[in-house]
């Protein structure tokens, strides 16, 4: 998984190196357009376009039949039965491209999510960092050690060690904007995590380690070595808000709606049957 993550992150960084010049909202509109076009192209090359065209024609023909012969009940029922059957066929033809599209779409979404889900730590305000150990006995001694670079400051009472649930919490306040590397642990067992502060639009990994799906969705960081006493390190960044069309909805909804809209708009130009 680390290799795939690394490659996708590299590609994501390349794309956003250009899109990052725009405002986050514009970048999301353009990435949605690109995603819509990519979805169209994948659809065109992975689906049976002739069969889909045939099905669509059949549906149109049966719709016409049911309209023309609306006084003839037997023809109408037969046409409607055929419409349902052809619709099921259409769905059947969609399964393969949908499955194939899922993989790149998830990878694209993860990359977009790394930029749009969270915003950097606000300067001057504390943000929580939670460390989870594999074993309760490691909470004190290793788990509660931290090296903070200049520019980050922990609360005087930190850390808060919740031994029964193997967690150590830090409340870190950035003094100035920037990207920092925070080191947790001691001796040979250390884990690093980059943290970001300020107002910028950037890639943010909120997690290192942890459950598979969380790692897949929220992290561009390498896994924690199996021998480490650390299970995960997580930064509770504030959520990013990216209003699109004046509406402040979650970026994923904006992406889905806009990419579908763009796919439908571009469909005639690429001569794709959906």
């Amino acid at each position: 998984m680390d290799i795939v993550t690394r490659i996708m992150t590299f590609l994501g960084d390349l794309v956003f190196a250009v899109l990052g010049l725009l405002s986050p909202a514009w970048a999301l509109v353009i990435i949605s357009a690109l995603t819509g076009v990519a979805m169209l192209l994948i659809w065109r090359h992975t689906s049976n376009q002739d069969a889909i065209e045939d099905v669509r024609k059949q549906i149109s023909a049966h719709l016409l039949a049911s309209r023309l012969f609306k006084d003839d009940l037997s023809v109408t029922f037969r046409a409607q039965r055929q419409i349902v059957w052809q619709a099921l066929r259409l769905m059947g033809h969609s399964i393969r491209p949908m499955i194939i599209m899922t993989v790149p779409f998830v990878l694209i979404m993860v990359q977009i999510g790394l930029r749009y889900e969270f915003r950097p730590m606000p300067v001057g305000e504390p943000t929580r960092i939670k460390v989870t150990m594999k074993d309760r006995s490691k909470v004190r001694g290793i788990g509660d050690q931290i090296v903070l670079p200049d520019g980050l400051m922990a609360d005087a009472n930190d850390p808060c060690r919740a031994i029964p649930i193997r967690t150590i919490d830090w409340r870190v306040t950035p003094r100035n904007p920037g990207s920092f590397r925070v080191t947790f642990g001691a001796g040979s067992d250390v884990v690093e995590l980059p943290v970001h502060a300020g107002d910028g639009f950037m890639r943010i990994s909120k997690l290192r380690g942890g459950p598979f799906f969380d790692r897949l969705l929220y992290s561009a960081e390498p896994s924690i070595p199996a021998a480490s006493a650390f299970e995960s390190v997580e930064v509770f960044y504030p959520a990013r808000s990216t209003p699109i069309l004046g509406v402040d909805v979650h970026w994923l909804i904006s992406l889905l709606v806009l990419s579908i809209v763009f796919a439908l708009l571009f469909k005639p130009f690429f001569k794709v049957h959906i």
């Binding site: 929580r128 009472n157 808060c160 649930i165 130009f269």
Partner: protein, 699 residues
Amino acid sequence: MTSRTPRVAPFRRFPAFVLSAGVSIALALSPAGCDRSAEAGRAVARAGGKRVCVIGCDGMDPKLVRRMIDEGRLPNLARLEKEGGFKPLETSIPPQSPVAWSNFITGAGPGVHGIFDFIHRDPTRQASPYFSTNRIISAEEKPPIKVGDYEIPQEMVLPWVKGAENELLRRGTPFWDFLDERGIPIQMYKLPANYPPSESKHDHMCCLAGMGVPDAFGSQGIYQQFSTRPRREVKASDGYKLRLAPDKESGAYAAKIWGPPNELVKKHPDLFVEMKVYPDPQKPVAKIVYVNKGLTGDETVELVLNVGQVSDWSEIHFLKTPVGPGMRVMARFLLQRVRPDVEIYMTPLNFVPDAPEAVISEPPEFAAEIAEAIGPYHTQGFAEAFNARKHQLLSDEEYRIQSDNVLRESEKMMEYALDRFQEGVLFFYYSSTDLQAHIFWWDSDDKHPARPPEDAKKYMGVVEEAYIRMDKALARCREKLGEDTTYIVMSDHGFCNFRRCVGLCTWLRNEGYLVADRGVLVDADWSKSKAYGLGLNGLYVNLKGREKLGIVDPSERDALLKEISEKLLALKDPETGRNVVRRVYRADECYKGPEAKNAPDLIIGYERDYRASWNTCLGEFDKEVVFDNDNPWSADHCIAHDVVPGIVLSNRKINSSAPALVDMAPTLLAEFGIEKPDYMTGGSIFAESKDQVAARSGR
């Protein structure tokens, strides 16, 4: 051959499409495209650019304002005084906030608006008390639909079955109706005595309701305190003391955060969310963890707090059945200590302003719009944790921190209000000057009921600091709104020390007017009781034909009232020899209007330093008639109205020689050239007329 629109080749249309799409998106992404407000789409306003800004500082006292102006500590209020004037503002009878703010709202006295006290009684149910400003009208009596252990109220699924309704009990016409009718925009923030918020008939009024808005229990604020100290769990009407028990399995301390009863389950058990607390083994810090149940999955909430630190607003979700509906509320947590015992205070459960369980603003989406701009805020009317301080579950310092959070939140909301306000009337209410004063005010060298002299002086400084912040709020308004705005800074009453308690019911029992062992509401013998006390200033005659079990013949009423009044005015404090009661007001003399018939028969105006005991409020007894107040609630204003006037300052000349609260509504109307209606008993403070004082009656 039919004519057809010529088809354009796909790629020739492309640039036009891109251009038009680009323009549309650019417009949508521009700041103008993002502008949404309750004002949008509402009727066109006609204030002609005129602006009146009213800052309502509950309980701001004229004596302290005078002193602080003279000391140069309130420069902006001093400037206002120089420009237009500073006068005491005659308060209501009795000087209680719901009564006083209703005077402000209607421009008339309690005889018109019908609010006489915090607590009223229903004579048809013999002294049954209820909150005076609003009440819930029960749903239609229909059996619920039973599904296993669940009981679904019919009104939930059948649209024709009428559900419970919340009714505003304040009568009379509020001043904003006249402005609204003429297209003058009105914005009011945290307005007291207007819950549920009255409707804007012409869409020019926005109002966030303040005092009176309940918590999620429907009460005026049930806090929850969790403690590892071995003690009996208590669920009282104003707060829960709960046990934080060691959980052997997890090694944490566990408790339940209680919510209101679940009306969808048989026997209506209380909703709850499990909470666990993990104190650090050495440091003064702890982690609080609870799980919000939701239809789409559980969400773990984790808070890390230092001792003495208050959390941000944290949402708590109760799920009434496994398939919904849920209830979203919010609270703030204060970690009080972690050693030797762990103690956590949780504020009452407030509605989330973006989706409140009840309508708390007019228009209803106004509350959410404010939250969108400034984040979550106290929706419950009484935001300060005075009950917890009264019960000594919060220290002075903890109360100061909590009430300072409320004030900071109000300051933030005022910034939003100033950004949004264009023209018309802006009213902004601050509770801090009242609810900090109730706990921290002490302006004499007498022994303070709850703190040593040096602390009494120190915490009086907290009240002074609140006054300074009101002064700064005024400066901020002037900075934002400019000099062509009329500014009015006002309060509903003043303040004084509350050193001695008066057990009115105890006195009535001692004098033979009331026969009961434990209390009016518990075991009164109504066949022998002639009078009873209820509320902070009210005294009722057990009148035949009015009270359900009344025994006093109407022909004997006057003589009885005279007798009781004379005895009360002669009542002496056995410790000091001072009179305890300054004035006894007869409702039929001081109130005029259609609601006067519902008033208490007598309103007791206590002397400075005295007030009704807490037990009196609900008709209970004390050991003595006059005794020391030993509660941190050490200042009050529910006494004779002439002892605790409010304030009024303006940059326009105040011509009225004796301005009163009932003058404020006519003043606001006059500012926009609107003649006051006949029922308003006051007049504009800027336009003194010779007979103004004489004309005023029934306030």
